[in-house]
Symmetry: C2
Subunit: 429 residues, 2 copies
């Protein structure tokens, strides 16, 4: 029997222990709550929480259902831009202090129907944009956890909950997952219901999930799609991986470039075929294009809030002003560029048959300080293209900080991406 | 001075009369409320309403703002799946009786910011799907107004409000506009903020608007985009119109086919170049493909409600069951077909340079009775493709019932579509 403390188990391991009779769900729930109670004062991952007593009361009342459910009554963290009927949903802004939605978001309902239980609402940056909340990075409390899904990433990384939901418009899942050293996944645009997930930019927003291994994500995905967990197909041929260096997109720390080369090399040794990405001007252009789309759409979505500029951060006010100063044609041109570059990406003869793209999930390790959530540019191109993405933890800097790499799949190729990530994950530890 | 009663004026005419000093906004507001009070008992367009007293009180309090605003404090109807802070939003379902959202939908905020005032919430079918509400067709009270935006279409057609918001997932704006004889417009997918518009199917949902002339839509559009009303470009060359007969998509009444041929002929005489659409198997296939996408997505979006089957209509239960019985691959194949057919539509050499598609907006006139909202198939292909669409009224059956035709534009070519519709509209009366 391993010495891993119970709260450190992944969701899949927890489910396995319960079904094998090795553990009771209540033991695991208690382990998570003990971890929350011990660590929350310094971590600040939660906006509001269920009490342990009420959680257990609820669990026991519905124990028969939970025992036979997919997620076994285990706790889930929910980013505080996702509506919940039993908790306020405040969007990281004083403007919405105490805001109480009448319904659960569909993703919350779907998880509940599969036996997940909301442990509480996790800290988000202001409207899922840049102003940080109170959360620290559990790996090094002096560093940012990344954002905007800061609390979800930190809570999972710290063992407070095995899994959590987030959302990504720029880099809001991939980056905090990388900085905190957990698995973070963003679905293809349109893949999951966003009913009740407060939007920032409709052409960019996507639901995200955090877990400790790829199989945790597969469990959540099955719940969210109301589908069975599909067995992972064995790749019938060597994987073909398009390697995109960080410098193709923006400034990238040497340690990160090195981690990318190292993992790519390991995969090649194991039989994967590597293709190097060229003509990356186009990807770099997507960084600005993404920003323009976000500015235009956010300034319409947050129209009410934009009337209360004094209650908004300077970066958010700047984004909304940028959006209002744009001509619609600039915005439409930006969308058109996304469409052309997306076509180039997959139609390029060099990229034929590529299974996934491998790229840095962030420019480096989590930066020091809590005034910023770090740079989002490593995610902007893929998010503009609406592609499914997953951060894989496991690589580390010389001083032991997580260096997250990301795998990028084809639009709506989420199932395939998770299969490939499952295989690659085993080479990372 | 024309004899048109004030409540029959279009939004643009009302705005014009106010700015020229010919009318006071209060006179027009009163005319609308008188019409509502006189006609609502037999029309049933409203789910809940503002009182005239409170409306006028509010108007007078902010009169300086409204006098200089785009929409001048004039009343707007809001479909009851669009969240409002000052009115319940019940989604046409007993499940959500008394449901009170904490925020206005962004579209409501945007209209308010431009000087529109919510007169009340208009009747929607159950969750914007098929089960009709209490609304009758103002042209002939024994007939359906169409749906799902039944109340919005009827209220505008009857002169209760000059404009109203709706939404379309299948045929929910285009069809009621056609049946009631008003202008109905559906934006390109992604064009307008859907924050706070309760979703049915994320790959299909789009915001819609009703007015009495194309310029009314252009005013609402400017408000919703926070952009100035752009002058309409004069076409520098003859319009090129792709004519799609109703029989290409499904059963179509002879009177409707005749109306299509008649308008097409009139446009040709005026210099337009007509292209006939062939290979319509593909369009017909989109009818089923659309239905499959809607079923898959609705059964996830309405996950909570699906647990209360006894409170749902039989058609909605059937839709949700269809969605749950599907394999994800069927759904992804449906999306892939949409993408291929969309490519065929615009890449087809015969369709080069086409400005708009002209097609029937419904299979015929509004059917008798109130048990159904009529057939949606004439809209499904275009809605699956995410295209902007506008119903133009003006054609009539032998017994004087409206026969709506629709113009379909290119994705995100909304501005151009409205310009073309503005020109064509003048040949319809």
């Amino acid at each position: 029997m391993s010495n891993t403390p119970l709260y450190r188990l992944s969701l899949s391991q927890m489910v396995h222990r319960i079904s094998s009779g090795e553990c009771d769900a209540v033991e695991l729930i208690n382990a998570c709550f003990e971890r929350i109670e011990a660590r929350e004062p310094e971590l600040g991952a939660w906006q509001c929480r269920q009490t342990r007593e009420r959680y257990l009361q609820h669990y026991r009342k519905h124990e028969d259902f939970y025992r036979s459910s997919l997620l076994r009554g285990l706790p889930v963290g929910i980013k505080d831009i996702i509506d919940t009927r039993d908790f306020p949903t405040e969007l990281g802004s004083v403007i919405h202090q105490g805001r109480q939605p009448p319904d659960n978001a569909a993703c919350v309902e779907l998880l509940s129907l599969a036996g997940g239980v909301v442990a509480g609402k996790t800290v988000t940056t202001e409207f899922a944009y840049f102003r940080p909340g109170k959360t620290a990075n559990p790996v090094d409390l002096t560093r940012t956890p990344g954002g905007s899904s800061s609390g979800s990433a930190a809570a999972v990384a710290d063992g407070m909950v095995p899994v959590a939901l987030g959302s990504q418009t720029a880099a809001s899942v991939i980056r905090p997952a990388a900085y905190c050293g957990v698995v973070g996944y963003v679905g293809s645009r349109g893949e999951y219901s966003l009913r009740g997930v407060q939007p920032l930019a409709q052409s960019l927003d996507a639901l995200g999930m955090f877990g400790r291994e790829v199989d945790d994500i597969r469990l959540l995905r099955a719940a969210l799609l109301r589908q069975p967990v599909e067995p992972i197909a064995e790749p019938g041929r060597p994987l073909r991986i398009l390697v995109c260096k960080g410098s193709n997109i923006g400034e990238c720390e040497p340690a990160m470039e090195q981690a990318l080369v190292q993992l790519a090399g390991r995969l090649e040794q194991l039989g994967a075929e590597l293709v190097e990405m060229h003509s990356c001007d186009l990807l770099r252009r997507l960084v600005d294009v993404h920003q323009a789309i976000m500015a235009w759409e956010a300034s319409r979505n947050l129209c009410a809030e934009s009337q209360q500029a004094a209650h908004l951060s300077q970066p958010l006010n700047a984004l909304l002003e940028q959006g209002l100063s744009m001509d619609q044609q600039n915005y439409l041109d930006a969308l058109e560029q996304v469409s052309r570059i997306g076509h180039w990406l997959w139609a390029n003869p060099e990229h034929q048959g590529v299974d996934v793209i491998l790229a840095p999930a962030a420019p480096g390790v989590a930066p020091k300080g809590h005034d910023s959530t770090g740079q989002p540019y490593m995610s902007r191109p893929w998010q503009a293209l609406g592609l499914p993405v997953i951060t894989l933890p496991g690589m580390k800097s010389d001083d032991g900080l997580p260096l997250g790499l990301q795998l990028i799949g084809r639009s709506r190729g989420d199932e395939n991406l998770l299969g490939v990530a499952h295989h690659i994950q085993s080479y990372l530890y």
